[in-house]
């Protein structure tokens, strides 16, 4: 009888964990808002190289305006999102992209939060199990 309850409750906690992790993973994958204009997407994902941590859509500096025009031109010429991004990366370096791209060392930027979340949930589960049994 005790075992039954124990297994049942454990299952519940697993279910919650699985739910949390699925949502987390599904969100961490790139969100493509298809309805949003490619231009506006890029504006939010590319940094203004001279304005201390502002993306293009936040900045009104001359260089930002210049870059916005370049994006518009490139889109008109039929370049896709990745092409435009890599164009800016070759000109201004990797820091022009507003987030760490998921490759190489940058994987740690995403791996640490995920591992942190998983570990803390495990610790939570084990801690309460220990408390309950002790």
């Amino acid at each position: 009888m005790f075992g039954m309850i124990y297994v049942k409750k454990l299952k519940l906690s697993y279910l919650i964990n699985i739910f949390i992790l699925t949502v987390f993973f599904s969100c961490i994958l790139p969100i493509e808002n298809s309805e949003e204009d490619l231009y506006i997407q890029l504006e939010k994902e590319i940094m203004c190289p001279v304005c201390d941590g502002q993306t293009l859509d936040q900045s009104q500096s001359l260089i930002a305006e210049d870059m916005k025009n370049t994006i518009k031109e490139k889109i008109a010429q039929g370049y896709n999102k990745e092409d435009i991004k890599s164009y800016f990366v070759t000109r201004y370096g990797e820091s022009v992209i507003a987030y760490p791209t998921i490759k190489g060392f940058n994987i740690f930027a995403y791996l640490i939060p995920i591992l942190g979340l998983i570990c803390s949930l495990f610790i939570f589960g084990f801690y309460i199990r220990k408390e309950k049994l002790g």
């Binding site: 969100i31 940094m47 201390d52 936040q58 009104q60």
Partner: protein, 649 residues
């Protein structure tokens, strides 16, 4: 006057060190006269800081440009009402302002502590005065606001144009006060470690001060967002800038703390955890100050950038070290409690999970803030970590916290059966499913916004169900629901105030999800008397007006907005560019027509000539709810903090 202010600060430092030492010695040797002497210095230091602050204000009012700080942050034509803003608009003045708040709050805390606690506060006060001494030391040796220049300029440089906004009277002072006020619960907690009687009064006073810090910091963040929304002219309100993040991190941990203190109050467990949390909050607040004043990350909030960073880094490391040591030394005392968590389905467990998620979010944000530095050191590549990263990593965790916010409060202490929980949730689940279907049919089909909206409604229905149930049970004697509702709220202020704050957070989340996923933008050239239709709006560009105030030239664009469905009702909104020649800077103010459904937001991008301009028209759905959450949050906090006449058991 400048020398006077400076010498007063030096005197303050000496007295503050004296106070710190005597509080400590008096406590250890149990000598009353030492403590009395320390007390006197403690209060005099407050007076000294107040005097030196007022002497700086006097210099501002007297246009004393021999003072370098005044010359750099004020000018002859500056509106005198802005003096207060000018006072904290730079590195030195803001530090003095933080110290001012710190000593005032210390004084209030000490003066109004209940008498049975007061006798045990000596150690807390000793740490408090060490913090005071640190600020005074920094001010005197590294950031003197009373420094005198040899050449007296005829006019000052003037205040930074971005700061000339009503939000600036509230946002920076609240945020700085919030960060400074965290030291009060921290020292109280450290003090409580030395009180072996474990009296319950500590929890009450701790909870009160945590709530005060939490509310101040929360409002500061929110008003900062509102300022960014109305004046920075980019249509957003939160850019995940490092400085915004370092304000958010301690706030999140404080949120965790005000929840877990309840567990300690109720069941005596989590004592160790709470001390870890308060120490973490304090260290994060210091980290915030460090990053703000010359830390290694780039930010738009560079107003206080200075060489003071290293000083705060050292202080932060010392305080971290101290916290760790004090926790290790008191480890046994902190963990000897017979009560245990008995079930996953209990209030304690849900609060622990809430705590863990909040702390993890905070650490994830911290990781994002320091990752560019990590990348340079370990990988030798410069990268940026901005909004897209935080949206993806912190966003989902916030969603779980919201869901937990609904389920947690209805679980009972110790343990609940699954059946009882589901039974209690059932009405909310049914309503939420119906609402969910409605939301889905009405076109919200993307995964994250859908889940978010459904969760928000779910939590809201749970709160309302609790309130309706509570009101009903009080309506046996009267037929009027309103007095019953009020008595129900008043009868358990802690809990119901908490619910009100939860509603504020739901409103905030509602607005954030709306603006994040459903904003629309259009860049367009317009000429005077042209009419544009955008979504459901008809926008008439009426005129461009030029005005001069002092040196500044202001270009205004006036728009008349009406709904396509109802053209008779017209709203006039104004967008403007103000040019400040002293700073060679343009400040942009957008024209906003705000309704609970959506904001129409017109950003004046470029004035081409007298008749033509480029604008960006944006629709920010549900943005109104973000701002309404502020007053609700304050209301909830006040309900919670309102003193109880009859003591609950």
């Amino acid at each position: 006057m400048n020398n006077f202010g400076f010498y007063i600060m030096i005197l303050g430092l000496i007295l503050s060190l004296h106070s710190s030492l005597f509080f400590f010695l008096g406590e250890i040797k149990n000598r009353k006269e030492l403590i009395n002497s320390a007390k006197r210095s403690f209060y005099i230091v407050i007076l000294m800081v107040v005097i030196s602050s007022f002497s700086l204000i006097y210099s501002f009012l007297a246009n004393d440009f021999s003072n370098i700080y005044v010359a750099n942050h004020s000018s002859l034509d500056m509106n005198r009402a802005l003096t207060l803003v000018a006072f904290y608009s730079g590195n030195e003045g803001s530090l003095l302002y933080i110290l001012f708040i710190h000593v005032i709050l210390s004084g209030i805390m000490y003066k109004f502590s209940p008498s049975n606690i007061k006798s045990k506060l000596n150690f807390s006060c000793s740490i408090l005065t060490i913090i005071t001494s640190f600020y005074l030391f920094a001010l005197i040796f590294f950031a003197n606001p009373f420094e005198i220049s040899e050449f007296i300029p005829l006019d000052g440089k003037g205040i930074n144009p971005l700061l000339r906004h009503p939000g600036m009277y509230i946002h920076p002072p609240l945020l700085m006060s919030g960060l400074a006020s965290i030291s009060i619960p921290f020292v109280l907690c450290q003090g409580s470690l030395f009180d072996k009687t474990n009296s319950n009064n500590w929890h009450t006073i701790l909870r009160v001060w945590c709530l005060i810090s939490w509310a101040i910091l929360g409002c500061g963040l929110l008003i900062g967002a509102w300022w960014a929304y109305t004046i920075l002219g980019w249509g957003g309100y939160w850019s995940w800038d490092p400085i915004e993040n370092v304000g958010l991190m301690p706030w999140l941990v404080l949120t965790a703390l005000i929840h877990s203190i309840m567990v300690e109050e109720r069941r005596g467990i989590f004592r160790l955890w709470n001390i870890i949390l308060i120490s973490l909050t304090f260290v994060l607040a210091l980290l915030g100050t460090f990053i703000n004043r010359g830390g290694p990350v780039v930010s738009v909030h560079s107003f206080a950038a200075s060489t003071l960073g290293f000083l705060f880094l050292i202080f932060m490391i010392v305080m971290t070290f101290y916290s760790v040591i004090s926790i290790i030394f008191n480890y046994k005392n902190l963990t000897n409690n017979k009560n245990k968590i008995e079930s996953y389905l209990s209030r304690e467990a849900s609060l622990l999970l809430n705590n863990i998620l909040l702390v993890v979010t905070s650490l994830v944000i911290l990781w994002g803030v320091i990752f560019p530095v990590v990348s340079i050191i370990l990988n030798d590549t410069e990268i940026s970590v901005s909004a897209p990263y935080f949206d993806k990593t912190a966003g989902p965790i916030f969603l779980f916290i919201i869901i937990l916010m609904g389920i947690g409060p209805i679980l009972s202490w110790r343990m609940t059966t699954k059946k009882a929980t589901i039974f209690r949730l059932l009405p909310s689940i049914i309503i939420t499913v119906i609402l969910g279907l409605y939301i889905y049919i009405s076109g919200i089909k993307e995964f994250f916004p859908f889940i978010s909206f459904v969760s928000i409604f779910f939590v809201l229905t749970i709160i309302f169900r609790e309130w309706i149930g509570g009101t009903k049970s009080r309506m046996i004697n009267s037929y009027n629901p309103i007095p019953s509702f009020i008595t129900m709220i008043v009868s358990n202020r802690g809990r119901n105030g908490g619910y009100v704050v939860h509603i504020a957070i739901l409103a905030l989340a509602f607005g954030v999800v709306g603006t994040k996923f459903y904003d629309e933008r259009l860049d367009i050239n317009v000429s005077v008397s042209e009419e544009i239709e955008f979504r459901s709006y008809s926008i008439l560009f009426k005129e461009i007006k030029q005005e001069f105030i002092g040196d500044n030239s202001i270009t205004k664009a006036i728009f008349e907005i009406s709904k396509i469905t109802d053209l008779s009702k017209k709203n006039k909104i104004v967008a403007m560019h103000s040019y400040y020649p002293n700073y060679n800077q343009i400040s942009v103010r957008s024209a906003i027509l705000s309704t609970p459904v959506e904001d129409l937001y017109i950003i004046p991008k470029d004035f081409i000539d007298e008749n033509n301009m480029t604008i960006r028209i944006a629709i920010n759905p549900l943005a109104w709810w973000i701002w309404i959450s502020g007053p609700i949050l304050i209301l909830g906090t006040l309900i919670t903090l309102w003193p109880n006449k009859t003591k609950r058991n």
